[in-house]
């Protein structure tokens, strides 16, 4: 890979190091991401997904190993993190920690305002970002942020980061708590941003989201990167995936279930359409 946009080498991290509560959360993780890639981080709870994302936008500095993002060494003292975070946006797993202004409009505009945008351009950007995540500008711009439902709050958190048009978008469980329509819209929004060249790294428990969006999957377990490969190849390793407490995308699961019942069927499917085709062929409806 020439010139990765994110390059993590042998990254180790211990929470509360040097105290009796010390907890190893990353163990020699290496990961290189090319510009424009869409990578999914999957792994059981506590495997280190959020910790990795928080290293990539400089919330944590590497204790051991190194993190280079957009050519900057984040271990180097004096790295301008404010500048970095204009290009590397992180949507936190818990939107309570992300949304802090009193009104929705102010919250979404915070990032662009800090980078000097104002007036019509700013309003346009906020409207655009809210539109991207399915928040109606008129209804929500003056809504106090404490008065939001769970899903509304997640959308506000997303819009605030999307509003920065970052080059690298880090997403931590972005679809948790969204209703099915909002979920679908967000996947479409992310697909659009990818087409526009945004590099994305998404931590998620939804294997269907991984199948819908990611090109490459990194599987973490106990702070170690266990598997790293193209999405189709990773989900072909059904037994390993299941033994980690993960699951297959639903389309993949259906064909595996059929195979397990003695039906000769191709199993390298990811989408419902692919599953439909495979089933029609396997059951002799189509050749």
């Amino acid at each position: 890979m020439n010139d990765p946009i994110v390059e993590i080498r042998n990254l180790g991290h211990v929470y509360m190091a040097g105290t009796p509560f010390a907890r190893k959360s990353l163990d020699a993780v290496s990961l290189a991401v090319a510009e424009g890639e869409f990578i999914a981080l999957i792994g059981p709870t506590g495997s280190g997904k959020s910790t990795i994302l928080q290293h990539i936008n400089g919330i944590y500095t590497p204790q051991t190993g190194s993190v280079r993002v957009l050519g900057r060494d984040l271990g180097e003292p004096g790295t301008d993190l404010t500048l970095l975070r204009r290009e590397v946006g992180l949507v936190l797993q818990n939107p309570e920690q992300q949304v802090f202004e009193r009104y929705v409009g102010d919250d979404v505009s915070f990032g662009p305002r800090m980078s000097g945008m104002s007036g019509k351009e700013l309003t346009g950007r906020v409207r655009w970002a809210m539109d991207q995540v399915g928040l109606d500008f008129k209804t929500y711009k003056d809504r106090p942020t404490f008065a939001l439902s769970g899903g509304e709050r997640r959308k506000v958190g997303l819009a605030g980061v999307v509003a920065l048009k970052p080059r690298i978008l880090l997403l931590d469980e972005p679809t948790a708590g969204l209703d099915p329509a909002a979920h679908e819209e967000l996947l479409e929004c992310l697909a659009r941003l990818r087409l526009q060249g945004t590099t994305m790294i998404m931590a998620t428990h939804s294997m269907d989201d991984v199948a819908a969006l990611a090109e490459r999957v990194v599987v973490l377990d106990k702070g170690r990167a266990m598997l790293d490969g193209p999405v189709r190849e990773i989900f072909s390793r059904a037994d390993e995936i299941r033994s980690l407490g993960l699951e297959l995308p639903v389309a993949t699961a259906v064909v595996h279930e059929l195979f397990g019942r003695g039906i000769g069927i191709r199993r390298d499917v990811l989408t419902l359409t692919e599953a439909e085709d495979a089933i029609l062929v396997a059951l002799g409806v189509r050749i």
């Binding site: 509304e152 209703d179 909002a182 439909e276």
Partner: protein, 278 residues
């Protein structure tokens, strides 16, 4: 009389800037002892608000909620209501307060005034029912998310409720943790407990016996999951059928014998094998 009776329930939130949000607009429904109900609806449709009315955390602006005959608006009935309805929320981290699992589970019954000599047995029973007794001495923050959520359920069970109300209790869990929690909840339902579960996961909703749908603060549909998922207004409520149901619908023209209501991979595969061979 039904176990839970919700009559013309309205809820209006007042905003500091003088505005209001009319979050529930005249909800009517009842829950019988032992039912298993999923509550669906768009973001902001009022599901959490409704859940918070079930055990009196919120009070009706208009209308009435009674639990086993006790009105949630009656200050003297708070205890009676709280001991009948156990609540489990999205994030177990926000619910677990003590430093040791068993203390956390003891917290609720202690507050309800359960006698010291009975407390140990109550805690043991609750932890046994969710399979967490062996973890009783561990700090909750060292448990997996699925285990934490089980402890949160044990905390609710320790009050010996007749009904569990879960608000997106699996949304932050990994696949194994989510399955684990659904399994525990269904085991409890099998022992006669009523379950009201708010979820955005359609395949989890498909497992309930009954689904109610909220839209814009109104209750717009109430029926079995398979009926809900074929409802012409489904998309207008921001809902979708579970993915397996979508696939089954696409396959049905080729396999007319495929039954309705297929919602998980195993069920679809075994039906396809039966239908495909005939």
């Amino acid at each position: 009389m039904p176990f839970i009776d919700v009559r013309n329930l309205h809820h209006t939130y007042a905003l500091k800037n003088g505005g209001t949000v009319h979050a529930l607009k005249g909800i009517d429904f009842t829950v019988e002892f032992g039912e298993y109900i999923a509550v669906l609806g768009a973001n902001g449709s009022g599901k959490t608000t409704l859940a918070l009315h079930m055990n009196g955390i919120l009070q009706p602006g208009e209308g009435k909620v009674t639990v086993d005959g006790w009105s949630t608006a009656d200050p003297g009935a708070v205890r009676e209501v709280r001991r009948r309805i156990g609540m489990v929320f999205q994030s177990p981290d926000d619910q677990l307060v003590a430093t040791v699992v068993e203390e956390d589970v003891a917290f609720g019954p202690e507050n309800l005034g359960v006698a010291e000599d009975r407390l140990a047995a109550v805690v043991r029973d609750a932890l046994d029912r969710v399979g967490m007794w062996e973890h009783r001495l561990r700090p909750p923050d060292q448990l997996s998310a699925g285990q934490k959520q089980r402890v949160a359920i044990a905390g609710a069970l320790a009050m010996n409720p007749r009904c569990l109300v879960l608000d997106e209790a699996t949304s932050m869990l990994d696949p194994a943790g989510a399955r684990e929690v659904v399994g525990i909840v269904e085991d409890l339902h099998d022992t006669g407990m009523a379950v009201l579960t708010v979820t955005h996961k359609m395949r989890e909703a498909a497992r309930a016996d009954r689904v109610i749908v909220l839209s814009g603060g109104e209750l717009v549909a109430d029926g079995p999951p398979s009926w809900i998922f074929e409802h012409p207004d489904l998309a207008r409520w921001n809902l979708r059928p579970p993915p397996v149901t979508v696939l089954a619908t696409r396959l049905r023209p080729h396999f007319p014998g495929l039954p309705a209501g297929l919602a998980d991979a195993e069920a679809l595969a075994s039906s396809l094998v039966t239908v495909g061979q005939s």
